[in-house]
């Protein structure tokens, strides 16, 4: 629904398969894949022949020989949403979106407003010549709200989490994300920002809301811990990592408050799955415990190459892309403070909400983030709202400056539907559950 007019309803059906063949040819290992939208027997046979050609061509030239599978796995699990997408008619959903859009356009200064819902039913099957058969099904819902206010050459935008709202499940997730009731608040906050002063340029305490924390986790913990980056696969595209293999087990990644988990078992979180796309069982693991770096984000193939433990995170975004090491659900475990207690301990600082800009170097160290809304904090109390709040820092220092985390009641289950990586490129769904976090001595600044 864009500026009060219903965009055309779009549906898509995407069916295909990827055949991967590994072989030993003259004592040398080879591997190749072929993906096709033709999943008939003859179509798969053609793909198999093509994959075989690639396996032969690559024999003797591989970075590493493929890891043979130990045992066959069998698993079938199709998750059904509590409130299925089709339980409400298209007309019914359009009516509610219209109502939401009307709440956004509450002032002439609102120049752009949009509401949208994306829903996907996904089914994947992993089958192998060794007897594997793993079938999983899930539903994904991604809601969006956006309002831009403009006056005297200045435009400010507020959103519902700007792309950070993604859940497994159905329409029931929208209530928990406060989707249907968020329109008035989002529009009013966009208007409020128009009159707000710029964020000051100081070094101060920084309290990040979950809808900014998630991207901070994503860019400066998730990506640096990906094992394929550490092994160099991504150096030409998504980048390398400041993390090296010798750091696991001893490196002080953050303050002792920092506990980060790979957790594929959080209901509703975007990357809730039982097996990865390499057929390996996914289980909860601590990546960072009490601030110490423990484990990499690497699937079986990368683990074998690096000779280091990892997790089951070899994932493909679709049938037409090969699995690579991806984030899945990468979460920060809660601390002990209520939200009020977090604010109360800030003598001089700022609260920043909702990511709007993200940038980090290719080693995942020097970062700069911008947020939609900032609120100054003085002596434990909220003060003025400020616009264009930005902050910058270095990953290795930033997480060590973590001085408080919200408790379990403050945790929000968020994520992103479009984490980009890989050659050919892949945009994949990842989840991040996180409380708000308080950091000391951070460089903040505003616009213009």
């Amino acid at each position: 629904m864009t500026r009060g007019i219903s965009d055309p309803i779009r549906r898509g059906e995407d069916i295909g398969a990827m055949v991967t063949i590994t072989l030993t040819c003259g004592g040398q290992a080879g591997a190749g894949y072929a993906a096709t939208s033709d999943i008939s027997t003859s179509g798969l046979a053609r793909a198999g022949k093509e994959a075989l050609d690639w396996a032969r061509l690559s024999a003797g030239h591989l970075v590493a020989a493929p890891k043979p599978r130990a045992t066959a796995r069998h698993h079938e699990q199709i998750s059904v949403p509590a409130v299925p997408w089709d339980s409400v008619s298209s007309a019914g959903k359009l009516d509610r979106l219209h109502q939401l859009a009307r709440n956004l356009k509450r002032d002439d200064r609102i120049t752009h407003w949009q509401t949208n819902l994306f829903f996907t039913d996904e089914e994947t099957v992993f089958a192998g010549s060794g007897g594997d058969f793993i079938r999983e099904g899930r539903s994904i819902i991604v809601p969006g709200i956006e309002a831009s206010a403009s006056a005297t050459g200045e435009t400010q935008t507020r959103t519902l989490g700007r792309g950070g709202m993604i859940r497994q499940g159905g329409l029931e997730q929208l209530d928990e994300l406060e989707f249907w009731n968020a329109g008035e608040r989002i529009a009013e906050e966009a208007l409020e920002l128009l009159a707000a002063p710029n964020c000051p340029c100081v070094v101060t305490d920084l309290l990040l809301a979950p809808d900014q924390m998630y991207i901070q986790i994503h860019e400066s913990i998730g990506h640096p811990l990906e094992l394929d980056r550490i092994l160099g696969d991504e150096r030409n595209y998504a980048g390398t990592s400041f993390v090296t293999l010798d750091m696991f087990g001893s490196y002080q990644y953050g303050s002792p408050l920092l506990n980060v988990t790979f957790d594929p078992d959080i209901p509703g979180e975007a990357a809730d799955y039982a097996f990865d796309d390499n057929g390996d069982r996914a289980e909860r693991s601590h990546l960072i415990r009490d601030g110490i770096l423990l484990r990499a984000l690497g699937g079986a193939s990368s683990q074998a190459r690096a000779n280091t433990p990892g997790v089951a995170n070899a994932r493909a975004c679709n049938w037409n892309r090969p699995p690579i090491d991806r984030m899945a659900n990468i979460n920060i475990e809660p601390g002990g403070c209520s939200f009020d207690e977090l604010v109360a301990q800030i003598e001089d600082g700022i609260f920043m909400q909702t990511n709007t800009s993200w940038s980090i170097d290719d080693s995942r160290n020097k970062f700069q983030f911008g947020c939609e809304r900032g609120v100054l904090i003085k002596n434990g109390k909220f003060g003025a709202v400020v616009k264009n709040p930005n902050y910058r820092g270095v990953s290795a220092d930033f997480w060590r400056s973590l001085k408080a985390l919200g408790n379990a009641a403050t945790v929000r289950v968020l994520g992103t539907p479009t984490c980009g990586k890989g050659e050919p490129n892949q945009a994949i769904r990842v989840g991040h559950a996180t409380p708000p976090g308080l950091f000391s001595s951070v460089q903040i600044f505003g616009g213009a």
């Binding site: 500026r3 007019i5 219903s6 055309p8 309803i9 779009r10 549906r11 898509g12 059906e13 995407d14 069916i15 894949y33 072929a34 993906a35 096709t36 939208s37 033709d38 008939s40 179509g43 093509e50 994959a51 690639w54 061509l57 690559s58 030239h61 970075v63 298209s90 359009l94 752009h112 403009s150 050459g153 200045e154 435009t155 935008t157 160099g232 696969d233 150096r235 030409n236 390398t240 037409n320 709007t356 800009s357 993200w358 940038s359 170097d361 290719d362 080693s363 020097k366 700069q368 911008g370 264009n388 930005n390 910058r392 270095v394 050659e423 050919p424 490129n425 892949q426 616009g447 213009a448």
Partner: protein, 439 residues
């Protein structure tokens, strides 16, 4: 697949009821992908994909569905099922006052000749060329097809064949030199020249790295770095909808409250690129759209939808109103004079991870990446450790733009999210004064 798509289009036409019309779009590719790390193959394979989008309309009501197709006889059944579903959805769809389709038949055909090398030739050639180095990168090659048809009888088709070798040679840690070679036919001499240039830069990269403090620096940005800056301006910078809703980052330029350097002229020149010359509602793209002329805003890219909403003339833009074949006018700085003209400052080969730090001021932040060198008195002195910049377009391409190079690079997009991109840019390098580095 061309004949198959047009047969499906005929079949769709036969299924229409009174008052219905359709638009059909096809996109497909058969891509050969090889990923390299440490001068060996990390992953290799083929992806063959075919997508058919059918949009059914009656009056101003319209709904669409995208399907995977195979080229086989089952596709007709999928199409029939889709039309039935769309007809049912049409009943509950709302009238769309911004729906506009081309009703004047403008059929076009572009079928490029396949001059690409076979994988059995290209892959050994790359492996031989990079042997003994720490090369990491990606080879992509093959045909990209786009088709359009509608119930008015229009038929459009575009086939291009392109390849790209997008990689880099690493010396140590994050110190690397980029190798970018792309085009529509493989030229061994050109590839060898690119390799030789990269290896020359590697010699400079081996010197002790310099860490520079934040501050203002005179810089030369190679065309790959300028491509990143122009690329982010495509996020709403040239969109009519973004202009009319005041959400464009170039709002001050569009309103005449700010100007860029008279050296800056930007056109969307569809004929100079690989992207098809037709868009999703069947309108043809004009040969050229003047976006910025000598630093002043000229035209926006206008989709049919925006044209209806804002009472403007459409100019063949797709729904996102982003350029697909951007060209920047060259300047007069000869390549041989770049280092002398730079004098003392930074030679920036690539930028990375750009984003807006203040959209109203069109202020951007991003990182240097790969080969960036400190130059003293016209001589390369040392590689530079990565630095963050944070500066406004109105400074970088405004008063602080000193010169553009006379030569331009044709840079084919290497993006392959969902499908291989057919976007490209013709871009010069830029000499810029007082670039703000912050971290």
């Amino acid at each position: 697949m061309r004949e198959h798509f047009f047969r499906l289009s005929e079949h769709a036409g036969q299924m229409l009821s009174n008052g219905e019309g359709f638009l059909a779009r096809y996109s497909g590719e058969r891509s050969r992908f090889v990923r390299f790390n440490r001068a060996a193959i990390r992953q290799s394979g083929t992806v063959e994909q075919h997508y058919l989008t059918v949009e059914l309309f009656r009056g101003r009501k319209h709904v669409s569905e995208r399907l995977t197709i195979t080229g086989g006889p089952d596709d007709e059944k999928r199409l029939e099922a889709s039309v039935l579903y769309l007809r049912e959805m049409l009943a509950s769809a709302l009238g769309d006052p911004h729906f506009l389709v081309n009703q004047q038949v403008q059929s076009t055909e572009h079928n490029a000749v396949d001059l690409l090398p076979a994988s059995q030739v290209a892959i050994p050639a790359i492996l031989n060329a990079v042997g003994g180095t720490d090369f990491v990168g990606f080879y992509a090659a093959g045909p990209i097809h786009h088709g359009f048809s509608n119930s008015f009888g229009q038929r459009n088709w575009s086939t291009v064949h392109s390849f790209s070798v997008d990689g880099c040679f690493y010396l140590h840690a994050d110190k690397a030199v980029k190798l970018s070679y792309s085009g529509t036919h493989w030229d061994e001499k050109q590839f060898a020249a690119k390799l030789a240039a990269a290896k020359t830069q590697m010699e400079f990269l081996d010197r002790p790295a310099k860490t520079i403090p934040p501050g203002g620096y005179r810089v030369f940005m190679a065309s790959a770095a300028v491509e990143e800056i122009l690329g982010i301006l495509g996020w709403g910078g040239f969109s009519l909808a973004a202009h009319r809703t005041a959400t464009t980052p170039l709002l001050r330029l569009a309103r005449g409250e700010a100007a860029l350097s008279p050296l800056v002229t930007l056109n969307e020149n569809i004929g100079a690129g690989l992207a098809p010359n037709f868009q999703d509602e069947g309108f043809l793209k004009p040969a050229t759209v003047s976006l910025i002329s000598h630093g002043r805003y000229k035209e926006c890219l206008t989709s049919p939808r925006s044209a209806e909403e804002f009472q403007a003339a459409q100019n063949g833009a797709n729904a996102d109103e982003s350029p697909l074949a951007l060209e920047m006018a060259p300047g007069d700085l000869p390549e041989s004079e770049i280092l002398r003209a730079l004098g003392t400052g930074l030679l920036i080969g690539n930028l990375w991870y750009l984003n807006f730090s203040d959209r109203n001021a069109c202020r951007l932040t991003g990182m240097t990446r790969f080969a960036t060198f400190w130059v003293e008195n016209g001589e390369i002195a040392a590689p530079v450790n990565v630095m963050r910049f944070d500066d406004s377009i109105y400074r970088m391409l405004g008063g602080n733009l000193v010169a553009l190079t006379a030569a331009r690079d044709w840079r084919l997009s290497t993006d392959s999210y969902e499908s291989r991109s057919s976007a490209s840019m013709h871009i010069p390098g830029a000499l810029i004064e007082d670039l703000r580095l912050t971290l």
